[in-house]
Amino acid sequence: MSPLPGLMAAGGRARDRVGFAIVWAAGSVVVAALTALVVSMLRAGGSGVSFAYLVSLPERAGIDGGIASVVVSTLLLLLVALAAAAPLGLLTAVLLFEATRTPRTAKLVSRSLDVLACVPSIVFGLFGMKLFCEVIGLGWSILSGGLTLACMIMPVVVRSTEQALRDVPADQRLACAALGTSRWGALLHVLVPAATPGIVAGIVLATGRALAETAAVLYTAGASLRMPASLIDPGRALAVHVYTLAIEIPGGAPRATSAALVLLVLVGLTNALAYCGSAVFRRWRLGSAA
């Protein structure tokens, strides 16, 4: 049957079966863990989540009412973090990518980023509290929290963007050079568009991290449950809300699970959005519209 009988010898087949069994088992464990997580959360907190819960303000420290102000604060924090980290990260990545003439500088910057990526988020929280809240004087605010998050996700954005740029086939750069284009022209018009899916993936990864972050925003954005009126108002991130309800508010555990469920959905939505975005982009590239 097989055109390659040697590969399908009896011993080989047995080994194949064992190998596949192990791989399947590993995959099943992962899926089971995820399913168990979602199911247990749905059972514990699913009943607490409703449309009213999403759009009404919290009462009695979150035990009653909804989480509207917390969701708004979270999204604002995310917005600030991305608005700061995305452009800075992109430019730093370009520096690292283009700095072929100063390999030492590039190495220094990239080592610093690696170290930065390993710093625990609580350290970023303390750093942000010192710098943004006290030294710069922004106080506990969405702005302080967002900027702290930006520092934290910056390495992820830079690294993924740099890698995406490096993954652009070398012949694209050569073709640009052969056409006598400037390096900036090549970067802006060819390399960045070609690297877009990778760059977007990196930013989504960073968004996920920022969305789920507790420690970095606890000391910088505060834990106010009021609806923020501006970026210099304090606000409570969803993850902080979950933490506070679960640990500090007696009888808050079921509401914590509900909030965690919302957080989980938000993370899922972010991923779905990025997936759709890159699918649309790919479809345009392959020209199914034509």
């Binding site: 012949d171 694209q172 050569l174 073709a175 640009c176 050079a177 052969a178 056409l179 006598g180 284009t181 400037s182 022209g185 018009h189 060819v190 568009p193 070609a194 345009w284 590239r285 392959l286 020209g287 199914s288 519209a289 034509a290």
Partner: protein, 284 residues
Amino acid sequence: MNGAVDVPPAATHRAPILLAPDPGPRLQALERQKLVVQDLRVCYRGLPALQGVSFSADVGQITAIIGSSGCGKSSCLLALNRLAELVPGSGVAGRVLLDGVDVLQPSTNLTTLRRRIGMVFQKPTPFPLSIERNIAFPLREHGVRGPEIAARVRRALVAVGLWSEVKDRLRSSALALSGGQQQRLCIARAIALEPEVLLLDEPTSSLDPAAAQRVEALLSELKTSYAIVVVTHNLHQARRIADRTAFFTLEDGVGTLVELDDTARIFAGARDPRTRDYVEGRFG
């Protein structure tokens, strides 16, 4: 011997057979040629990859470069528009005269040089942009503005025979085109800059026979306007389209030009036995 080449070739290799016995009138003709290469040498990390290459190319003719893999054909092309120097550790010496001016001089404006010497690679390299912007982006980089851009895009696409195929989807992605269309787009992109010399590195080797045939026909049309130098592995192709053919080979591990002559002479009655062996398939 070798009177037309005023840089004497290095003593370590055989001088290429370039000229008829009487160099007088040929010498003048040579100097009027669009592109004249004299004793071109290329090395990577100090190791010579190519040496003793002297030839010329002019508008109205296609010069084919043939030879086995790794004998420096592509290095030769990349040296002509100074792309070779993008390779770390590379060095290029000799003279490459474009209208009599040596482009290997440090003072050469590379942007202008690469506009005047266009290049097309083996693998089609469309940018991940729309068909239109693939051509418009380099034009803008070279300072072309306004309605001139659309006019040149159209002219270039007409010239490569793509206009009727893509005129209704100029805004859709160039990556959606077939391989042959992509390669013709790359040629259009190069000629939109109105170059004088067109270098092509195995432009049809990644295409199917029908698409390859279209590109070959296109090159034969384009040669009236450009000096074309094409590297090819396909001897039949050289025979079909080239007016003159150059044979490169490895000598002591270094690529060199053995012989350049009218294509008919190279394929029937080459002077050098190595050329005869190669074109008759007795090589190696």
